[in-house]
């Protein structure tokens, strides 16, 4: 490979905290890696484990999940429910052989533009080091579906 590997990363974030934090990173003109695509949801409570599987199906080498810090959820409890779900799903993925390093979770508030930018950069770096998620790509190849755009 001549070109260095650039990972594809898909992020699922809540609109009230992390999405706003990402906006703040923008208004603060912070710079971060362009590898991440963000999907906006009302609350981390809405982020289903299915989203993670579909992101992997779309060829994501890494998935990010982020929302309000505990106690700060706009919907009071959504992130507490999400946290339990993640705990369980993470263990499940690990047991199946999907490395936990490829699915990262964070709390980023609307004020944490800097944390957002740093988080994106560090995760992009980490996933870049891990390399492409070849084992999952092989699953996708075996479906014999044509390569997407």
């Amino acid at each position: 490979m001549s070109e260095p590997f650039e990972p594809k990363i898909i992020a699922f974030v809540c609109t009230y905290c992390t999405y706003a934090g990402a906006d703040l990173a923008g208004t603060s003109r912070l710079k971060y890696a362009p590898n991440v695509r963000i999907i906006r949801l009302p609350c981390t409570g809405r982020i289903s484990p299915m989203f993670i599987l579909k992101a992997l199906q779309k060829g994501a080498d890494g998935v990010l999940i982020s929302g309000c810090h505990p106690g700060d959820c706009h919907f009071t409890h959504g992130n507490y429910h999400a946290r339990r779900r993640w705990m369980v799903f993470r263990a499940l993925l690990d047991f199946i052989g999907i490395p936990p390093e490829r699915v990262k979770y964070s709390w980023i508030s609307a004020a944490e533009g800097v944390k957002f930018a740093e988080f994106i950069n560090s995760v992009t770096n980490d996933i870049r080091k891990l390399g492409p998620f070849e084992q999952y790509s092989q699953l996708i190849e075996q479906t014999q579906a044509p390569a997407s755009l």
Binding site: P49, V88, I140
Partner: protein, 276 residues
Amino acid sequence: MSIEEQYRKRAMELLSGGAVKMVIGYGRGSNAERRRPVFISSPEEVNRLVLDEACIANLSGYLVNEGLLSDEKRVAVFLRPEGIRAINILAAESQLDAEQIVIFGFDVSGNEVKALKGIHVEEFEDVIGAIKEHAPEMGNEELLEKIEQMNPQERFAFWKEEFAKCIKCYACRQACPMCYCRRCIVDSNQPQWVNTSSHSLGNFEWNIVRAFHLSGRCVECGNCDRACPVNIPLRLINHRMAQEVLKSFDHFAGMSKTQEPVLASFKKDDSETFIL
């Protein structure tokens, strides 16, 4: 009197007195090793009931068959401790009224069948508590340990080989007392979250979703494992998830009929070491 005789007698009494409308138990199967579920609704038939160490299947799933309990009459059922836990979960998840269930409890250790005292699900809390403290062997510990020792790539490869066998017959789902949904997520096609084809991707997705939906709900009865016609060690995944909820949330599925579902509840101080 053997337990089999005692329980036949009890079934006879309950049926002839009208205390229950049906007894769900085990009968002789198509060969010497097999037992099959039987549904006894008249006292004359109680001699079809068999109880021995070959009675393994968890029969609790039949209780949620559509219409069975809607006349509010009682039904008796032969259950091992896992089956009793399943009743608690089904009651906690509003799938049945535990008052309607009369339990013929039993357990098997080695070749010995012993009766469990009690009739209603509340009376078995000690039995269930004891399993929480000392889980019985599931007989596949070595493989579990082997998998735990693998690195992620090896684990992925292991499951890929196992899941490659899956033919999406959904015997695991149909055999599971907890899979009572009228429409499974795999059959929900707007959108199609789970690929239904049994290529490797679809098989991964299905088995991940199945295990996730059973997290904190699986009683480890092994119905799925035994039902799988292609011998995927499904129970290992469920077992791992049961360990996880026990370790992380001190949740032991089916402790009581009022237990809150682990994923519909939370504690503010739940562990979050993995969240950055």
